[in-house]
């Protein structure tokens, strides 16, 4: 254990003043100190992607980043996707296309897909599969996740 550092994490536009050990991961801090449990932890070694959040607009494995590294940066989590009661097109598409079953990996997939499509709205179908293969899902067999993300991509482009 080492001395804690006071940092401010800006999550979904809201500041969270927390005091964390430098070794504490962003994932643990978001969940425990900021009490946003929508970000899930599946492997803690950067393979499964369940903990994917956006930091400065980029998809990041929050289990591989320390909270202190994210201080002051804009962090987006699954809790910040919807606009009030209005779901983000990606959330709606996952529901419409049955892109989730147990829902544990879902927040990570949503953030990955949103992050990539915001950066690269015209990404090819092939590249999209490439991106989605960064994360693991054990329930859906990916078919419907791919269908959902493609459908949402169309909607997001129209906006």
């Amino acid at each position: 254990m080492s001395a804690k550092e006071a940092i401010t994490l800006r999550i979904n536009g809201r500041d969270h003043a927390v005091s964390v050990e430098p070794r504490k991961t962003l994932a643990d801090t978001i969940r425990e100190d900021c009490e946003q449990t929508g970000t899930h932890i599946g492997c803690e070694h950067g393979i499964c992607g369940a903990c994917t959040v956006l930091v400065g607009g980029e998809p990041v494995r929050s289990c591989l980043m320390f909270a202190v590294q994210a201080a002051g940066k804009a962090i987006r989590t699954v809790e910040g996707l919807a606009d009030g009661d209005k779901l983000h097109p990606m959330q709606q598409a996952f529901m419409d296309h049955h892109g989730l079953q147990c829902g544990f990996c879902t927040p990570g997939f949503l953030m990955l897909a949103v992050g990539v499509l915001e950066r690269e709205p015209n990404i090819s179908d092939e590249d999209l599969v490439d991106v989605l293969s960064s994360n693991l899902c054990r329930c859906t067999g990916y078919q419907n996740i791919i269908n959902a993300v493609r459908a949402a991509a169309k909607k997001m482009r129209r906006k």
Partner: protein, 779 residues
């Protein structure tokens, strides 16, 4: 593509691909998983780093509270029981008591304020162990001088099943051709994305503990823990909140939960444990580690009339609770003949103890392995007899129902041949063969593989009793009630964790009582709220939980009709229930469900004692079981230079009886196939000779990603089951069962020009290259 047949007549909720009621919370981060609960103390388990040995000493830092077997001396060991098949009871102490038997076995529990501190302290706990020689492989464990795991199971055989049908020997002698498969299935981990975890919280006001945990069987978890800790079951509440996938792994009792409840009761506080991925991979239960030798006796027309099987299932170091480790060898023995009409059958199936992680059910339980084995037999026989692989299946598939197997299982009405023909037509076999030939001329090696199988689903207590299980799950109970506000609630004993049961059961209820599904709340996974039930596993919940739901909903319907009849002064037969109302057909005389509910609770005098107060009805269901079936087809390309296999296309023609929600049904098949692809090509828990697991990260143990999954084309036939009152059959496991065999057959088809065969899963690039290299060197 999905092509569900029409379901005839009227607009019903059943049969429609409505969106899931589970989803809004899950896509917004509002799901509640076990690890989301705040806790007072974190628990970290110190685990054995050696596969076999005697514990000499456990040293912990003075300031750290550490729990060991000494503290738990009053806690009974986990002792699953079977009363048949020469089963040897093997107990597992909740924390290792003097002896360790696999790497990852929990030895001590460390408690700290945070998970990080608990990990730090666990690192400081030193366990002195005198190592003994481990045995890792099932066949090695059978050798005369092999180390013995448990004194109570001499020779490391924990159970042994034998079967031989009457007249087997005489029939065997008449064989025109005997074909043999030496099948090897390597070890797997179900790998749910959410690792296991528990959270035990003491409540002073009620003097009770609530254990929230990642279980598929909340009620039995409560019964088992209360038994082992010896306190009244009523003082324990078990909650399975949102559970992030289970696939069987989370139906087996985790000893870690018992430690949490023990801590909560002793220290009157809350204690949580969330395993990390390494713990899950090395200690979270394994499956499918089997050797099967299968001999088939064929006549000259390719009719398979007798099979002889030897099953050696590596069950690891202990037996899992509640199914026992009999689950794999006994399922293999019971269902080996699969969809084929085989009149003569002999089988010897053993569960063999080794110094590896304990085996437990994993989606498909043995059937991915036996399907792979008998489907290899069919392809080998086809080659040996000069018959087309599709044709040899045509000649052997059962096509008259009900059908009784050589062991006495009864297959209900199904479509084994029809699904094969449907798949063959859809894949356009002649076109593929032409393409395959052209590709070969260019040095590219394509292959096609078929697998046909049937799958026992939705089986009740009689099936488990036939296995001699001390605990025979099977039935389900559902309570459907309408409260005075007209709110409809179904409390169920099943415990879904991704299967969409809240939606499908609501669809079933909706059709009975005329209330839309989104007005119906299905409550599960809480022993304080749900009636005793068995949980969700073995492709059972929609058949059995669904059946109990239908029974309860029909009773509610009958009651609503009675109430409406009194209120509307009309005959019950003239009343229709629709859109949340009762209406006298063809009139505008209506009463809403809220109006009826109010009456049933607050105006009971009006019913003159003819109708009981309130609206709450119970359904129980305990069916004999029904068999789903499917034909899977894989087209693969094998890169013979690297051994890499790419699946170009996957096609399924399946029959799971009546489909309640086609979208959810297709999703189950997709997910199963993905796990089957992992099984066939990628996933393997590897131990070295010392019993050290070598695949302890997701970079080493590799579930498929979106890259490895080809487009999946689904076709459906719906043969309504007579053994299921909803007419639905189970389909949760089928994808996992059929896919490996189709893929391995396709690889072998691709490799046919090289004269090599692979009968081992996963068929990794290394294994394929080893076979090809041996052939090249021999040439």
């Amino acid at each position: 593509m999905s092509a569900h047949g029409t379901r005839g007549g009227g607009m019903t909720w059943v049969g429609r691909a409505i969106r899931r009621l589970e989803d809004p919370a899950l896509v917004t981060g509002q799901g509640r998983f076990t690890a989301d609960l705040p806790t007072a103390y974190s628990v970290r388990f110190v685990r054995s780093q050696v596969a076999a040995g005697k514990i000499i000493k456990i040293d912990a830092p003075k300031y750290a509270p550490v729990v060991t077997a000494v503290d738990l001396k009053d806690v009974k060991p986990i002792l699953p029981m079977l009363h048949k098949f020469a089963y040897k009871p093997v107990g597992q102490p909740v924390l290792a008591d003097g002896v360790v038997r696999f790497v990852g076995e929990p030895i001590a529990a460390v408690v700290a304020a945070t998970a990080g501190e608990a990990e730090d302290i666990a690192d400081l706990v030193s366990v002195e162990i005198t190592e003994t020689t481990p045995v890792v492989d099932a066949r090695a464990a059978l050798e005369a001088k092999a180390p013995q795991l448990h004194a109570s199971a001499p020779g490391n055989v924990i159970l042994e099943g034998q079967f031989k049908s009457d007249g087997f020997d005489a029939a065997w002698k008449t064989a025109y051709k005997i074909v043999t498969v030496e099948a090897r299935s390597r070890r797997q981990n179900a790998t749910p994305m959410e690792p296991r975890g528990g959270h035990a919280a003491y409540d002073a006001a009620s003097d009770r503990v609530t254990l929230t945990c990642t279980t598929q069987m909340p009620h039995l978890t409560r019964t088992a823990i209360a038994d082992l800790l010896d306190f009244p079951e009523a003082d324990l509440r078990v909650v399975a909140p949102d559970v992030g996938g289970g696939f069987g792994q989370k139906m087996s009792l985790a000893g870690e939960y018992i430690v949490l409840v023990w801590l909560a009761r002793k220290y009157k506080s809350s204690f949580a444990w969330t395993e990390d991925r390494r713990e899950n991979l090395i200690a979270g239960f394994h499956a499918r580690d089997q050797y099967i030798t299968l001999d088939g006796a064929f006549d000259k027309d390719g009719k398979l009339f007798a099979i002889k099987a030897d099953v050696a299932a590596n069950v690891g170091a202990y037996s899992c609770f509640p199914t026992t480790c009999g689950v794999e060898p006994l399922m293999a023995m019971a269902e080996m003949p699969g969809p084929y009409d085989v009149r003569h059958y002999q089988c010897h199936a053993r569960g063999i103890l080794t110094n590896t992680c304990t085996m437990a059910p994993y989606r498909g339980v043995s059937r991915p392995v036996i399907t792979f084995t008998i489907e290899r037999l069919m392809d080998k026989a086809a080659a040996a007899l000069g018959i087309d692989p599709v044709d040899i299946r045509r000649r052997n598939l059962v096509d008259k129902f009900p059908y009784k197997t050589a062991m006495g299982l009864e297959y209900d009405e199904a479509s084994y041949k029809q699904t094969l023909e449907m798949a063959v037509a859809a894949i356009d076999l002649p076109a593929f063969r032409k393409r395959q030939k052209e590709a070969r001329a260019q040095g590219r090696h394509l292959g096609i593989g078929f697998s046909t199988f049937c799958e026992r689903t939705g089986y009740g207590s009689s099936t488990f009793a036939a296995r001699g299980m001390a605990i025979t799950p099977g039935w389900e109970t559902v309570i459907v009630s309408v409260d005075p506000s007209g709110f409809v609630e179904a409390r169920i004993g099943s415990s879904p964790h991704g299967q969409g049961l809240r939606t499908t059961l609501a669809q079933i209820i909706a059709d009975e009582i005329g209330v839309p599904p989104d007005m119906i709340k299905v409550v599960h996974g809480d022993t304080d709220r749900a009636p005793y039930g068995w949980g969700t596993f073995a492709s059972r919940s929609l058949v059995i939980g669904g059946g109990a739901t239908l029974i309860a909903a029909r009773k509610v319907r009958a009651k609503l009709l009675k109430i409406a009849s009194t209120m509307l002064e009309a005959a019950e037969t003239d009343i229709v229930l629709e859109d949340g109302k009762a209406r006298v057909a063809g009139t505008d005389r209506v009463v809403s469900i809220t109006g009826m509910a109010r009456e049933a609770y607050t105006q009971t005098h009006r019913f003159k004692g003819e109708i009981d107060p309130g609206i709450s009805e119970t359904g129980h269901y305990d069916p004999p079981g029904t068999f789903s079936n499917a034909c899977h087809v894989a087209i693969v390309e094998v890169d013979v230079e690297t051994g890499k296999v790419t699946i170009e296309k996957f096609l399924v023609a399946e029959d799971a009886g009546r489909i309640i929600n086609p979208m959810i049904a297709d999703g189950q098949v997709h997910g199963g196939i993905a796990q089957g692809i992992g099984n066939a090509l990628l996933e393997e828990m590897i131990y070295d000779d010392n019993g050290a697991p070598l695949t302890a990260t997701l970079a080493d143990y590799m579930p498929p990603t979106a890259h490895e999954i080809p487009p999946i084309e689904l076709h459906h036939i719906e043969t309504p089951s007579v053994n299921s009152i909803t007419k639905a059959k189970g389909l949760g496991e089928g994808g996992t069962i059929g896919a490996p065999a189709a893929i391995i057959n396709a690889i072998n088809d691709a490799l046919a020009p090289f004269g090599v065969e692979i009968d081992e899963m996963p068929a990794t690039p290394r294994r394929i290259r080893t076979l090809l290299r041996a052939k090249e060197n021999a040439a």
